[in-house]
């Protein structure tokens, strides 16, 4: 029995060393690459290395919304202030029950109108369409039957007038130049079919003329941890994978898409909770299968601020949904794994998401189980275990801080000494505490999956102050 346990634990040891070494190497290479890219980006902006400011593409901004009465006004008002020449805003009310649509109609003096819409993607019936004639930017509100976020996006695509559309969450605020910056990626290459911006967590926001007034670290500890987590995740994987056209996700909070390609690929998938990942994998798959030259870009200079869950309950709900979405997308496009001719997307990106995102909670649980078994059979080497754990925590801590400081100097963010102290402390708590809680949440994400798979997640929103 002891021999069998020894053999098992030896195998687990090897598995973990290979697994962690692979993870750390990926993280390390991508963070170094990301830091370099951010540094170059700042230098480019400082020395006028960008395309002419008058270049533009007409863009339709689609906001799918469900019961977002608290935040929708600030979101729309900030969008009306974007530094961009030609765009329209389409809000799709997915059967809200909090009076959001009436609130918008009243706020923006909208009139109901019989606008014919070409239904190029199947979607739930539209109840009514309103337009505001008094805003400088065309503003449309579409009321429809409840069908989920993906269905609301599909309605928005059908109604969009322009060849490119941006999907943003109702609680997100775009920086005034974000649209210009993300659209420039399309002008840099004709093959760009989608581009994602950087999503930064921000709660207790104040907006003046569409600009955030001094965004700092949030007061809430959980939100602070998410700031660090987002910095690390965006810096670590997105910038690096972008170099190889291998990003497999564009955050639902802010993404630009070429409309005709999305329509040709079938639009957003309604039977998933992770429509933002699904659409990117679908576009990869579609373009590879159809032999269409394409690029999916990540633009770190285009910043979108979004509200973070501030309670553990909301956070676990969000992460559960993300993990389910990840599973659904990866399962649906499982043929992309190690697919000949699919390049880096298939051989590195898919593999990374599979091993270090989808399987990671289970592998970590296996590690805990193996540790408990080793303790039970008296085979634990406490000194080595503590050392290994310490190094792992220190490495994660160093990575989080690298990403945090890189973002500060590269995007020219203003932080106080208090913010830096908070980052130092919270990053330590995040790598020792929150990470394990989220691991358990993700491991248990499939419980109750069928029952709630198409529901909008309900997260408490905070009103944004507009000055």
């Amino acid at each position: 029995m002891i021999e069998a346990a020894k053999l098992f634990l030896s195998a687990i040891n090897i598995l973990f060393i290979v697994y962690l070494l692979g993870y750390m190497t990926f993280l390390f290479v991508s963070v170094v690459s990301g830091v370099n890219e951010l540094y170059e980006g700042r230098k480019r902006a400082h020395l006028h290395n960008y395309l002419h400011e008058d270049l533009y593409l007409p863009v339709s901004i689609i906001i799918p919304a469900y019961n977002e009465r608290v935040v929708i006004e600030s979101s729309v008002r900030s969008l009306l202030e974007l530094d961009y020449k030609i765009y329209e805003i389409i809000i799709v009310d997915d059967g809200s029950t909090d009076g959001m649509a009436d609130h918008l109609v009243e706020l923006f003096n909208m009139k109901q109108i019989n606008r014919p819409i070409r239904l190029q993607i199947a979607c739930k019936p539209i109840d009514a369409i309103y337009e505001s004639m008094s805003t400088a930017i065309p503003l449309t509100l579409i009321r429809k039957e409840n069908g989920g976020k993906a269905d609301a996006l599909n309605v928005g695509i059908n109604a969009a007038r322009y060849p490119f559309f941006v999907s943003i969450d109702a609680d997100s605020i775009l920086e005034t130049e974000a649209l210009k910056k993300v659209a420039q990626s399309v002008l840099e290459s004709d093959n760009v079919i989608a581009a994602g911006g950087a999503v930064r967590p921000a709660n207790n926001l104040t907006i003046h003329k569409g600009r955030l007034v001094r965004p700092t670290m949030p007061k809430n500890v959980l939100a602070c941890m998410q700031v660090l987590e987002f910095d690390r995740s965006f810096l670590a994987s997105r910038i690096f994978l972008d170099r190889f056209n291998a990003n497999m996700i564009i955050s639902g909070a802010f993404g630009l898409f070429k409309k005709d390609v999305v329509i040709a690929a079938g639009g957003f998938e309604v039977n998933t909770v992770g429509e933002d990942m699904e659409i990117v994998m679908k576009l990869h798959n579609f373009c590879i299968t159809q032999d269409i030259p394409y690029k999916i870009k990540y633009v770190p200079e285009a910043v979108c601020w979004t509200q973070m869950p501030t309670t553990l309950r909301d956070l676990t709900k969000q992460r559960r949904r993300w993990h389910l979405g990840l599973f659904q997308s990866m399962y649906k496009y499982r043929h992309m794994l190690l697919r000949p001719g699919a390049g880096f997307t298939s051989w590195v990106s898919y593999l990374y998401y599979l091993l270090y995102e989808l399987f990671s909670p289970f592998i970590e649980l296996l590690g805990i189980a193996a540790t408990l078994l080793a303790i039970a059979v008296g085979l634990i080497n406490w000194q080595f275990m503590l050392l290994f754990y310490g190094i792992y925590v220190a490495f994660g801590w160093a990575m989080s801080l690298t990403a945090f400081f890189s973002r500060i100097h590269a995007v020219n963010l203003h932080v106080t000494g208090g913010d830096v102290c908070k980052a130092l402390l919270v990053s330590l708590i995040e790598s020792t505490g929150l990470r394990f809680i989220l691991m358990l949440v993700r491991a248990m994400a499939f419980w109750g999956y069928k029952k709630k798979r198409l529901q909008w997640s309900k997260v408490n929103r905070q009103k944004v102050n507009i000055r």
């Binding site: 830091v35 290395n49 002419h52 003096n109 004639m133 805003t135 004709d190 290994f388 220190a394 690298t402």
Partner: protein
Amino acid sequence: MNIETVIYSYTTICCGMIVFNILCSVYHVFQERRILRYGYRLEVLMRDGVRRTILNETLEANDLNGLGKRLKNTDQLVAFDRVMQQLLEENESAARRYLLALEPMFEILCSHYRTGEGVETAYYCYLLGRYFKGIRKMPPKIGDFLRGRLYSASLYCRQNAIGAISAIGDQASLLEGLMILNRRPGSYHDKSISEALLPFGGDRAALLEGLWLHFEGYDQPMQLAILNYIRLSGGGCDPQMLGFLDDETADTELRLAAIRYFGRYPNAEAKSRLIKLLSDFRYERWEYAAVSATSLAAYSGHDVVEALKAALYSRDWYVRYNASASLERMGLDAEQLSDVLSGSDRYAREILQYRLDTRRARQSQMTEPEEVLVYD
């Protein structure tokens, strides 16, 4: 090598990166102060130079050499540009004469920035375009430098270089530059070329003559960029554009650009051609019909209205949509459109009704203005 060593190494390098980032943040704080300090010093020198130029005095060779050496440093160049911006605002003609007097120095600097980093070289190209805007005769060394940058791997370098060549306003250099870019497929976006051409600082008529002379030698994206430039910069090429409307074998995008051109610059001869294109209901011709429907909004006459009304019954959604928009823009009322509104075609009726409702709503709201864009 054991696992601990690898992890220790990574952690050490990460700590190094944290230190690097902190140092970078500090550096950027001091960089701004340094640029300001450089600016104060340069301002004295530059104001003296402007004064001398106004008095028709020659600039001291030592001063020029000294300034040239300083501007090899990018921070000094940024500071120089800030001061120059100020001088241009105060007295543009004097500042421009001073810049012309500095031309030999800029030519020498070209050899420095030729070998520099892509980002810095692109910046230097951008500055040359601003400083020598509209001089119309390309200084030889600057011309060589800018044309050379069109081969750069950096998109921004190429874009700033072609923008600078265009701004300087020497059409021969610009035509040569366009040809260089044309020989590098995929190195530019047609929109970015159109935008680079727009601030052309020379004789537009001479440029157009040159562009048409070389037109056949360009690839389709460059041809499209040129047609769009002509449309956006004042027209004046009706005969050539009519040629595109008539040439069935011409590239679709070029013909569509010509149709858009006549939407901006109405032409009696183009009118009948646009109506013909709109009335062609063949499925494969829908793009011509859709764009013609939009362009015809700039024309008047019974024949135009009838063609647009007929287009409301098109099988193509975009043709119907654009035709209804044009009818609305032409200001026709419900009575004039009653045949469609009371007709049996539901799609035609609905799309037209939508336009009329939109106009009515807009007009009613104009009397009761809504200050939705004001933040209080």
